[in-house]
C-alpha cells in the first residue's frame, strides 16, 4: 500500500485535479441525490470510500477528509495523528521519531503540496477531530452538508 500512497503524493498535481473534478460533480449533484434519499446509503458509501481511499492514501476513515489541504497525503498515517504539520521530532534523515523506518508523513505532505495548484491550503488550521465520525463516509457528509447549506463555499 505504501507504494500506491507514494504514487499519490508524487503525482499530487493530477490527483488534485481529479479530486476537484469529482468534488465539484458530487457537490453539484448533492441536492438531487439527497432528495432521493442519499443519506440512507451511509454504509455502502463508507465501504466504497474506505476501499478507494484506503488503497490510494492508506486512509484511516477519520470521517473528516483533509487530503486536498495536506498535499494529497493522509495525515492520519502520522503515528501521532497530527493534522496541522510535523512535530519537532523529525529525524535528520527525514524519518519519524516514533517509527524509525517511516518517512515523516508531513515531509511527504509538504512535497505533495508543492506540486499542487492549491498547495497553499496546507497552511490552513485544522480543527480537532470529532471522534464520533470515525468510520463514516466523509464524501457523503460533505454532500449532505452542502445540500443543506445550499451554495456555501467549499
Amino acid at each position: 500500500m505504501r507504494a500506491l500512497r507514494r504514487l499519490a503524493t508524487r503525482h499530487a498535481g493530477p490527483f488534485e485535479r481529479l479530486y476537484l473534478v469529482c468534488d465539484r460533480l458530487a457537490l453539484a449533484l448533492a441536492p438531487l441525490l439527497v432528495k432521493a434519499g442519499l443519506e440512507r446509503l451511509e454504509r455502502p458509501a463508507a465501504v466504497l470510500e474506505s476501499w478507494t481511499k484506503g488503497a490510494l492514501f492508506d486512509c484511516n476513515m477519520c470521517g473528516r477528509c483533509v487530503l486536498a489541504a495536506t498535499g494529497m497525503t493522509c495525515p492520519m498515517n502520522c503515528p501521532k495523528g497530527l493534522r496541522n504539520g510535523p512535530c519537532g521530532g523529525v529525524r535528520a534523515n527525514g524519518n519519524c521519531e516514533i517509527e524509525a523506518a517511516l518517512r515523516c508523513v508531513w515531509l511527504e505532505a509538504w512535497e505533495g503540496a508543492g506540486r499542487m495548484r492549491h498547495g497553499g491550503r496546507i497552511g490552513e488550521l485544522q480543527a480537532p477531530l470529532d471522534h464520533r465520525l470515525k468510520g463514516s463516509s466523509a464524501w457523503l457528509r460533505r454532500m449532505v452538508e452542502r445540500a443543506r447549506l445550499g451554495s456555501a463555499p467549499p
Partner: protein
C-alpha cells in the same frame, strides 16, 4: 461573593495590552532580554525537591518551566510543580503535552492552573510514548500543539470552552509554543511557527541550539516574514556534560541536533564538563546578538547548579540585577 482572595508570588495587575499579570510577559514586553529555565522534575512526592531545584535557578530566571512528562517519562506533574512554584513565589511556565490527556482533561487543567496563579502555558504536542519508560501506554494526541493553542486562546479571549460553553471567569494566560529550527523540513519550520502564532502563540521556546548557522538561517526567514514582531522568541540552550552525554542525547532525545564539531570539541577538552559550560556561555552570547531573539531558555538537565554561572558569565542580563525572585531589590539597579 468572595471573602478571601489568595495572592501568589509573581502576580501583578496586568498592564494595558498585557494578557497576563505575570513577570515573563512584563520582561518581554518591556524589551528586556528574558531568561527562562527548565526544572528537572522529581520522581518524588516531596515538595522540598521542587523548592531546592527552583532555588538554584531562581536568581537569574524570569520564569521556570515545569515539564509535562518530557520524553514520555513519568515524573511529578507540571500542574503539581507549578502549584508549588507559585506557593514559593516563583514565576512558572506550565508545559502541556497532548500525549497524555484529552481535550476535556486539558481544559480543566488550564482553569485549575490559572486559578492557582499560573500566568504562562507552553503548548506542546509531546514526544511519542515509545520514547519513554512506559512505551506500552496509550498515546492520546486528541489535540495537537496548534489546536491546543487555539483552544486556550479561545478560553481566554472569547471566554468559552471548545464546545462553546461559557467560562464565567476566563483564564489570563500568556501563551507559548515550541519550535524546532533544527529538524527537517527546514523550509517548513518558519511557516509552522506562523501557523502557531495564528493559533495564539505569543512566545516561543525552541529546541536546544548547538548549530548557530542553522539558527541564523531560520531567524532570517522569520524576520523576512515579520514573525519576530508577532511573538517573542527564546532560543533553547544547555550545557553538555560530556561528549558521551552529547552522543546519547543526539541518538535518544527526539528532535535534538548536535553537530559533530561540537562533540569533537568536547572530546578534545581536558575537562569536558567545564568545556560544555564554556560552550553554552559562548552559544548564548552569539545567539543573543541575532536580531529577533528576545531571550534564552536554559535546559540544563541534571546540571541545574550551572545555570546561574552560565547566565552571569554570558552577560545577557547586562544591568539587570540578578536576584532571587521575591527578594529585596538592590538599590539603584534596574529591575522589573
Amino acid at each position: 461573593m468572595s471573602v478571601h482572595r489568595i495572592e501568589f508570588g509573581d502576580s501583578y495587575p496586568p498592564l494595558p495590552g498585557h494578557v497576563s499579570g505575570g513577570r515573563l510577559e512584563r520582561v518581554l514586553r518591556s524589551g528586556r532580554f528574558a531568561v527562562t529555565a527548565e526544572l528537572n522534575p522529581p520522581d518524588s512526592a516531596d515538595p522540598e525537591e521542587i523548592y531546592q531545584r527552583a532555588l538554584v535557578l531562581s536568581e537569574v530566571c524570569d520564569a521556570i518551566n515545569a515539564t509535562d512528562a518530557s520524553g514520555a517519562n513519568c515524573h511529578m506533574s507540571s500542574l503539581g510543580i507549578c502549584a508549588l512554584l507559585k506557593a514559593a513565589g516563583y514565576s512558572a511556565v506550565m508545559q502541556i503535552s497532548c500525549r497524555d490527556r484529552n481535550r476535556i482533561a486539558i481544559q480543566g487543567d488550564v482553569l485549575g492552573a490559572a486559578a492557582l496563579g499560573v500566568h504562562n502555558v507552553l503548548c506542546l504536542t509531546g514526544d511519542g510514548v515509545e520514547a519513554g519508560d512506559q512505551p506500552g501506554a496509550k498515546p492520546v494526541f486528541d489535540l495537537d500543539s496548534i489546536t491546543l493553542l487555539d483552544t486556550i486562546r479561545a478560553m481566554r479571549d472569547e471566554g468559552r470552552f471548545l464546545s462553546g460553553r461559557v467560562i464565567e471567569s476566563p483564564p489570563r494566560l500568556f501563551l507559548g509554543a515550541a519550535a524546532n529550527p533544527f529538524a527537517p523540513p527546514f523550509d517548513w519550520r518558519p511557516r509552522r511557527l506562523a501557523k502557531k502564532i495564528a493559533a495564539g502563540a505569543q512566545f516561543v521556546q525552541t529546541q536546544y541550539c548547538f548549530d548557530v548557522a542553522r539558527l541564523r538561517a531560520f531567524m532570517s526567514e522569520i524576520r523576512d516574514g515579520g514573525l519576530h514582531k508577532a511573538c517573542f522568541i527564546l532560543v533553547g540552550v544547555g550545557p553538555l556534560a560530556s561528549a558521551r552525554a552529547a552522543r546519547w542525547m543526539r541518538s535518544n532525545v527526539p528532535g535534538v541536533h548536535i553537530p559533530d564539531s561540537v562533540i569533537q570539541r568536547l572530546e578534545g577538552a581536558a575537562d569536558q564538563r567545564q568545556e560544555g559550560k564554556r560552550l553554552c556561555v559562548e552559544l548564548i552570547q552569539e545567539i543573543s546578538e541575532i536580531e529577533g531573539v528576545r531571550g534564552v531558555h536554559v535546559m540544563a538537565y541534571r546540571q541545574e547548579e550551572l545555570v546561574n554561572d552560565i547566565i552571569r558569565d554570558s552577560g545577557v542580563l547586562k544591568n539587570r540585577a540578578p536576584r532571587a525572585q521575591g527578594a529585596e531589590p538592590t538599590p539603584g539597579a534596574e529591575i522589573i
